[in-house]
Amino acid sequence: MVNPPKLEQYQYDMERCIHCGGCRWVDHIYTPGVRFGVKCPSIARFEFDEYAAYGREEIGLALLKGELDYSPRFIDAVFQCQLCGACDAGCKRNLDLEPLLTLETLRARCVADGQGPLPAHKKVADNIAKTHNRYGSPHKNRPQWLADDIKPAAKADMLYFVGCASSYTATSLAQATARILQASGAEFMLLGGEECCGYPLYATGQVDAFIKQMERNLEALKKSGASTVIVNCAECYKTWRVDYPKVLGKSTADMGFTVMHIVEYVDQQLKDGKIKFKNPVEMKLTYHDSCNLGRLSEPSIYWEGTRGKYGCLEPSKEYRRGTYGIYQPPRDILAAIPGVELVEMYRHHENTWCCGAGGGVRDANKDFALWTAQDRLEEAQDVGAEAIVSACPYCKENFSEAIKNGKEKLKAYDIVELIAQAMKVRGGKR
């Protein structure tokens, strides 16, 4: 049964926010100082408090109580945010509240009340409805990334869900991913007529459209017979693994299939000795934790119950605090590549600074998206990295454009490019 959350469910969370700024600052244990000491791009860029989670919760509460009406500023505050979850991990270090779910639901409320989506988000939704991808490219072009040497199986237990970016704009990443799977001996199938996962819809509050997209994808997966969905896109990963069960009112564990990011797969294969990195990659790299693969990727755990004295929950709820995100596998992979020198940025793991592309920001406010990426590139340069590596096509795309526009001498890679190069399979890129 579809069960998307409602804003009323988060009234307690909005009321109990104490404006401590945990949503804004890098965990003080890890803070490097003034520079790079903030982890929320929105408050860093727009500065007024309605652009921080604590301010959004205040205006969300005012909306819920009928004390504040919609206005252009309200909508701007709600949508000028990557939904990167920095606030969520920060808040939950000390408190049992749900700032990110509140913000997601606030967007959905705006859309339900006819105050959204933003025109750019509506355009993406229209594209998905008409062409099944976010770009509006012909659906028939989706499999064009398939090179002659890539031979998916007609039926397999593992299904490679390519995603919009790798299918259309970053096809080398799809090719690298497929070749890595092939080289490791994995048999994988593709989803005939694959469509967008729905991330751009859910992230922009277009829940009804998302539900339709989700239902189509789940039906297609069911028909395929596959039990493992493997992806190379962090947005797809989080959508399949977290948002589908969340909206269905289920736990990830009850979905009947497993979702795996390519870094999880490669990491396991490396540790099992089934993959070897032979080709050196002589480079000083820093790894950028994609929000949707890191702090936001913990499985959805369905909870239903009641709140009692002191706000205690019955039964107790297991909060998703960003503790068990996919952090170590990509680092272990990069560290295993001969020639790679891996350096850590100041903001990493659950404290990562978003690339800037998520939450519909790159679609609706590219300047903000690129400003955010620029800040990250400066951090990468500050630690002496020659290149920034992520595990999401959208991170790479945003970093690449920021590099092109800016002065940084950095390069941006997706991790599958380096894996492919280290494995000496085609698709690796320098």
């Binding site: 003034v34 505050a77 002191y310 706000g311 659950e350």
Partner: protein, 529 residues
């Protein structure tokens, strides 16, 4: 309602249209509900009518002058950890100082110059990177360094670093009327922050006194604070939220916990540590905090806490001691031997500790105080003697019994107290927790007021006078300190524009609250000359 159009245009010309907003969305987002939320402060706090965000001292000065020209009341804030950081009068301007976030460290002379938006976590790391350190306020790592320096500044590390007022050096201060006053060596040289005592009278006492003005005396835009030499090893951050911690180099920094046989021996131990000039911090934390640290969830906390008995509280006298080998490993070894001798003599039972720190050195989890119940306030803060802290804690704990429930029952625990300045003083704090949804939540306010009366009755001191009814505590503690405060305020801010109602803030709260009763004579600020 809104501020006068002329005033708005003048402010806009100072900061530019992108750094001023009177949009209701912005103003609502600034409606501070922190710290004392769900208490009587809620009766007085409101959203501002306009928010302005200066970047420089010059902008702050011009903004304050505009406020004086057009009689616009203003509330300065940067990290607003108090409800007093919220506007309390109609048509107020909020001056948000978060854009002023410059930090400079003078390694040679060991001090830092901070602007209003710099927070403790940032300053501490920048200091540690240079082999120096400061304290991190109990208010939290997220607290503005300047705000805390001119208001409170309590931390267990004050045991060794000294109280914050002694470490405050050059100060750049925009007075309530917009004039700039530079204190310390800044008075002679605008680039020299190194010296706290300037020519003529030392006005740091006017600026801060015992515990400050809560924004009612203009805006400090830049301030220098003394940094203290630390030990050279790196403190390694480790773990993933919520279990992040700072690993301590065990050859240089160690925690020790001892359970003393009784309160008297605990008090004696604090004095002896100071007499022997050892340790970097010595604190007795509430037993409840130990359960917070053990609990895996809020529900788990309540399961554990429900098993606590009064006997356990009565027999738990844990002294937590930090020892640092500032100069050498040998120093640590020496201090450890002295510590063990003291504890052996006093019957201290050694308890296991972790080789890490998550709550005092760099991070201070003040936000976690709201975790178990959603409602929390520190009823009392005091800098006095160790003996005073212990006695007052016991007396307030006794008073608290009248208010349990709705206040959480901690079975007579006398709160948190610690030695400061090598035992020459004590900092004590008495904390209360409750469920904000409890229909009798207001009893927290009643206890707050009763604690003031208890202090007066028993002769205890309070360092929280800036958040108490001035017409109650002023005559009792003065007998005329409140009159002098009023005179000073009038001399600097004759129109009472800087964070009104200022001195009479809590008096107004009492007047407005349905649950608080004034049974003391209230004077008139106007009549004080």
């Amino acid at each position: 309602m809104s501020i006068a159009r002329e005033a708005y245009r003048a402010l806009e010309s100072i900061v530019g249209p992108e750094h001023i907003s009177e949009d209701p969305v912005t103003c609502r987002a600034y409606r501070t509900k922190s710290y004392r939320r769900e208490t009587a402060y809620e009766t007085i706090c409101m959203a501002p009518e306009c928010v302005v965000m200066p970047k420089t001292t010059d902008e702050v000065q011009r903004i304050v002058k505009v406020c004086n020209r057009y009689k616009v009341p203003y509330t300065p804030t940067s990290t607003y950890w108090y409800a007093t950081s919220s506007p309390k009068k109609p048509n107020e301007l909020m001056i948000d100082l978060k854009r002023m976030n410059k930090l400079e460290i003078n390694d040679k002379h060991m001090y830092a110059i901070v602007e209003s938006g710099v927070v403790y976590g940032q300053l501490q790391q920048e200091a540690l990177d240079r082999g120096l350190y400061t304290m991190v306020s109990g208010g939290g790592s997220q607290v503005s360094v300047i705000c805390n320096h001119i208001n409170q500044g309590w931390s267990p590390l004050n045991y060794r670093t000294g109280l914050i007022g002694r470490r405050t050096l050059g100060i750049e201060w925009v007075l309530p009327d917009g004039e700039i006053l530079r204190l310390g060596s800044l008075a002679l040289n605008e680039d020299d922050y190194s010296w706290g005592e300037g020519i003529g009278p030392d006005l740091r006492g006017i600026l801060r006194g015992a515990s400050g003005w809560m924004g009612a005396m203009g805006i400090v835009t830049r301030l220098a604070t003394k940094l203290i030499p630390f030990q050279p090893e790196r403190l390694e951050p480790t773990g993933i939220s919520p279990d992040t911690t700072l690993m301590l180099p065990q050859n240089r920094i160690r925690w020790y916990n001892f359970n003393l046989p009784n309160r008297e021996s605990l008090e004696r131990a604090m004095y002896e540590l100071g007499w022997h000039e050892i340790a970097a911090a010595a604190t007795k934390v509430p037993v409840l905090w130990r359960y917070i640290a053990r609990a895996k969830s809020k529900e788990d906390f309540w399961r554990l806490w429900s098993q606590v008995t009064p006997e356990e509280i009565a027999s738990t006298h844990i002294l937590r001691i930090l020892v640092v080998g500032y100069t050498s490993e040998e120093q640590l070894d020496y201090e450890e031997r002295v510590l063990m001798d003291i504890m052996e003599r006093l019957g201290g039972e050694f308890r296991r500790t972790k080789p890490s720190d998550e709550s005092w050195i760099k991070n201070a989890d003040s936000a976690g105080m709201w975790w178990m119940t959603g409602g929390y306030v520190s009823i009392e803060y005091v800098i006095e003697t160790i003996q005073h802290g212990v006695k007052q804690g016991v007396a307030i704990a006794d008073l608290k019994k009248k208010f349990v429930p709705p206040l959480v029952n901690d079975f007579g625990d006398p709160g948190w107290f610690q030695a400061v300045e090598l035992g020459h003083g004590d900092y004590s704090e008495f904390l209360t927790y409750w469920d904000p949804d409890d229909k009798e939540y207001y009893k927290a306010d009643q206890m707050y007021l009763e604690t003031m009366k208890l202090n007066i009755d028993k002769g205890f001191y309070s360092s929280f006078l800036n958040a108490q009814p001035i017409w109650l505590t002023g005559p009792a503690f003065g007998p005329n300190y409140h009159l002098w405060q009023i005179r000073v305020k009038k001399a600097f801010d004759s129109d009472n524009l800087s964070n009104p109602p200022g001195l009479e803030c809590y008096d107004e709260i009492v007047e407005r609250s349905d649950h608080l009763t004034r049974d003391w004579e209230k004077g008139s600020m106007e009549e004080v000359v």
